[in-house]
Symmetry: C3
Subunit: 124 residues, 3 copies
Amino acid sequence: MPIYQCFSPEGLLDESTRVKLAAEITRIHYDATGIPPSFVNVMFFDLPHGRYFVAGRPSPHSVVNGAIRFGRDLATRQRILRDLSQMWTRVTGQPEEELLVTLWENPAENAMEAGSIFPALSND
Amino acid sequence: MPIYQCFSPEGLLDESTRVKLAAEITRIHYDATGIPPSFVNVMFFDLPHGRYFVAGRPSPHSVVNGAIRFGRDLATRQRILRDLSQMWTRVTGQPEEELLVTLWENPAENAMEAGSIFPALSND
Amino acid sequence: MPIYQCFSPEGLLDESTRVKLAAEITRIHYDATGIPPSFVNVMFFDLPHGRYFVAGRPSPHSVVNGAIRFGRDLATRQRILRDLSQMWTRVTGQPEEELLVTLWENPAENAMEAGSIFPALSND
């Protein structure tokens, strides 16, 4: 953990933009939490036209869902949300109005990485 | 929010069926919660044969996962589940026996849309 | 429920390996919980090169996310995590160092399968 899943319309991102976004997401998570980059996972999914709808109509919106350990304080979580939203717009040119960012908290005891259960946050 | 992700076997849905499902999911969420359609996100993912298994065997089932704000009462959540399940069967012809619908609740403070943190439900 | 979603680099899994993984995931969930195999859902998603990053660099890691009913005791959840992690390595040859397994708990009242709300665990 964390695992960030990015969903965006096919054609919005090219290879070098994905590399830049992955580096920035990793940096933002590190800056907010101190988690070493080697634990930060980022995945990208392209949605072809006609597979994403807002208000029942085809839409070019993007979504970033982050799965993080339970127990970060509100300021940390909202810093991540804000930094991700602003960075995405800066890197991709897509306006923030077309972006939805969510964090999902999971107790560390529900995650195993490299064969070991994840340690809980000390401020749990 | 909300974000509904629909997973179905490749070939089950065509373009016009996806349009109809997106409109119906948006309407069902609005009818149950009063949320304006412009906040309702719907994504579709096709699973090729051999990528979905039930009981360890390839299966033509579909799954709808909805990410919603934490704090809806039980009646509202179960109305959404029931309406989605029945509507899916009506629109696609796929029997309810082959459909799994789940809701996932997330505190509003963990979501940013269009650059703003989502407001909590007043009955939180 | 449960729903297991497996994300792996394109080319790691072939058709027969997916069949074997689906059977093993189903067995592991049954052994730990007693849930009949006909309720165990497994999906596979291939990620092309350049769509998965760790530490900001393209990575061949895999992720297994399991959505389960809320209320399993810690020993049961960690048995599932451990068994999945070791089985994945045995079946695919991918080292555990490249695998992340997480469980996500959802109250039974938030899931409808085959038109019926899922029963809560008796030890809830």
